[in-house]
């Protein structure tokens, strides 16, 4: 009677297969959009791939694009693990950039490595602080975090704009911009002659660290239980409020780091509206990665390559860069739109084989406490 239970294996396979299939379908559907413009989709995709991977400059550019997606995606993913929808990564990214800039343009009597560290920590803190507000509101007043995080994004962007027009502004400059980041606070360049900076390495390391952190620590365990079953986590004595606030801090801090990398590694100045919707792409990254920190790596690669290659595609075959956004969104639609509708699972399933609290894996969330 005890046949080997293949369900965990099937679950793992499905978790990985689904995004791949979804991305494929997204490309297929998008090719009709390209066809409608009188362009051969294969030529467009070839230009896209060539732009992203065809040269040292292209590869470096792809790496530059991956870095913030990786960090922002990790931020959103951590929230999702706990069942928290932080869709305001954009605002946290701005606040992170603001804090890092403030430290980075200030001449401090400290060694260079320490100045850089301070700027990075400040950026993390800036993002974390911005996520603290929705975290507290969720934990203590039961306010849905997704609208609050989003609203605060708009507030955060305007706050940055205010500081840029005021105290942070470089005065004899034609544009509204901050002073340049001092050399002591810049992230090192990885490949000479390109703009590929250490933000990518920080992102990769954090992805691996976060994976083990969530898997092997009690903090990670409590986070996953909170996401998988909020009722149960209360019963087994987890301080749910504290956990919500901590996860939001971590989530916002990681999103803040995405902004830090952009400023300290790439732009060396803060501008109004500097990031072109990175925070929203980060949501897509986390969703496609099924909120798995390691999964965030390949998905960021996919999104980053799309972003980097889209310019080349526009130049070579004349297909607009916005197609990249369409492909991304279709991939998400297909991830939730294909496969079987899951049967109701037992309320307290083993979290090891349950990928996430996300309804991608758990369509019946929140679980019915009476079951």
């Amino acid at each position: 009677m005890p046949r080997r239970d293949l369900r965990p294996l099937a679950a793992i396979l499905l978790t990985w297969l689904r995004p791949v299939l979804a991305i494929l379908l997204a490309f297929i559907v998008s090719s009709f959009l390209i066809l409608a413009q009188g362009v051969n989709p294969l030529a467009a995709y070839a230009a896209l791939i060539k732009g992203a991977f065809g040269s040292t400059a292209g590869l470096a550019n792809t790496g530059v694009k991956i870095a913030p997606l990786l960090l922002g995606g990790l931020g959103v993913a951590v929230g999702l693990k706990a069942g928290l929808f932080n869709i305001g990564a954009e605002g946290q990214l701005y606040l992170g950039a603001l804090a890092a800039t403030t430290v980075g343009v200030t001449d401090l009597p400290v060694p260079a490595w320490f100045h850089l560290t301070l700027a990075i920590v400040a950026g993390f803190a800036g993002g974390a602080l911005w996520a603290l507000i929705p975290g507290l509101l969720r934990a203590y007043r039961g306010v849905n975090e997704f609208v609050v995080t989003l609203m605060l994004s708009y507030v955060g962007i305007q706050l940055v704009s205010y500081f840029l027009h005021g105290p942070l502004r470089e005065v004899p400059a034609p544009y509204v911009q901050s002073h340049q980041i001092l050399e002591s606070a810049r992230l090192p360049v990885l490949v000479k002659g390109t703009s590929l900076h250490a933000g990518l390495v920080i992102g990769l390391i954090l992805a691996v660290v976060l994976h083990y952190f969530l898997r092997s620590t009690s903090f990670g365990f409590e986070t996953r239980i909170l996401g998988a079953n909020p009722e149960a986590s209360r019963y087994i004595g987890i301080n749910v409020r504290r956990q919500i606030v901590l996860v939001m801090l971590l989530s916002g801090g990681l999103a803040g780091l995405a902004g830090v990398g952009e400023i300290l590694g790439l732009k060396w100045r803060l501008f109004d509206f500097f990031d072109s919707m990175l925070g929203y792409d980060a949501i897509g990254v986390a969703l496609l990665a099924n909120a798995n920190p390691l999964g965030v790596i390949p998905v960021s690669l996919f999104f980053g390559a799309l972003r980097a290659g889209a310019n080349n595609m526009q130049q070579v075959v004349g297909v607009e860069t916005a197609l990249a956004t369409v492909i991304q969104s279709l991939a998400i639609v297909f991830v939730i739109g294909i496969g079987f509708v899951g049967k109701r699972r037992p309320a307290f399933a083993e979290p090891e084989t349950q990928p996430v609290s996300l309804a991608i894996a758990e369509p019946d969330w929140p679980p019915d406490p009476r079951k």
Binding site: F146, V147, M277, T325, I332, A359, I360
Partner: protein, 309 residues
């Protein structure tokens, strides 16, 4: 020196105009929320509607057809959301977020295709108030000098109030959101009602988008909704899911929006960035319950499983 009165009238006039897209989208959004489905895709549906309206007006020169096109496009996105959330029982937030992203990319793409040679101004919603009445002090600019879509918005929220609270289908819709199993026991299809709710929400979000793009400016710019769809979500909370209160909440958001626009134009001593923040901060305040306790539909956001009896 009657400047203050004039200023206030101007302010209210633009507040009403700015609130109109919100009121229309919120009216439709109430159907879906009361039926138990969360639709954060309203933002994307409005955006696509705004684009479809400009495209329709550009291609046909007929505002009525343009509005119709916006409603069809919104409705199609609504059907997609309904399929993903009701049939597939996918997470309602994920589905909505995907629709927003899709609208953002697709409208940008199509917009650039359609208007390769600059951006022509297209036909707007007309002002149909009798000319003699437009000069009446206060009521003239506030009511009679407004584009017809403003009137439609007002009528819609009254109409929905009646539909939700005075008709059988309204009762059923509310039951789908409050206690879907009871509704099923009474022999009605929760799935069909929720589909209906999401569809209505998409159609009206599309029309709300049309009100935005064809109300005053007549051009489409990428991401022109700029969070208005989310402000609508906040208006539900602030207005306690009651059609008239929600419309009033939308009006308050419109007033804040108009204030920041005026401040940017004339300068008011407050940095304009803080005034831009105002509607969003008001939303957070509304959510945080600073405007009284709210009553959420009980099964809002919960997927309905027909096999689960």
């Amino acid at each position: 020196m009657d400047f203050p009165t004039e200023g206030i009238v101007n302010w209210l006039e633009s507040a009403i105009r700015l609130a109109t897209p919100l009121i229309i989208a919120a009216t439709g959004g109430l159907f879906v929320e009361r039926s138990g489905v969360l639709n954060i895709g309203i933002e994307g549906m409005m955006l696509f509607g705004a684009f479809a309206a400009v495209a329709g007006s550009f291609l046909t020169g007929n505002v009525l057809l343009a509005a119709l096109m916006a409603m069809v496009v919104g409705g199609l996105l609504g059907l997609l959301h309904a399929y993903l959330t009701v049939t597939r029982r996918a997470d309602q937030i994920v589905s909505g977020a995907a629709i927003n992203l899709l609208a953002l990319g697709a409208t940008d793409l199509l917009n650039r295709r359609l208007f390769l040679e600059g951006r022509p101004r297209v036909a707007l919603f007309p002002v149909i108030g009798p000319e003699s009445m437009r000069d009446i002090p206060i009521a003239g600019p506030l009511v009679f000098d407004q584009p017809v879509i403003v009137w439609i918005a007002m009528l819609l929220s009254i109409f929905l109030s009646i539909l939700l609270y005075r008709t059988t289908i309204g009762l059923h819709l509310r039951s789908a959101g409050e206690h879907s199993k009871a509704l099923r026991s009474a022999g009605h299809s929760v799935v069909r009602l929720r589909y209906f709710g999401v569809l209505m929400s998409g159609i009206f979000a599309g029309l709300g988008g049309a009100a935005l793009s064809l109300g005053a400016v007549g051009i489409f710019t990428p991401n022109m909704t700029n969070g208005r769809g989310f402000v609508v979500l906040a208006a539900f909370v602030a207005g306690k899911w009651n059609p008239m209160l929600v419309a009033i909440a939308c009006l308050v958001f419109g007033m804040a929006d108009a204030l920041q626009l005026q401040a940017q134009a004339v300068g008011m001593g407050i940095p304009y960035q803080f005034l831009i923040m105002l509607p969003y901060l008001l939303t957070v305040a509304a959510l945080a319950g600073l405007v009284g306790r709210t009553t959420t539909p009980k099964e809002l956001g919960k997927p309905y499983d027909p096999q689960d009896v």
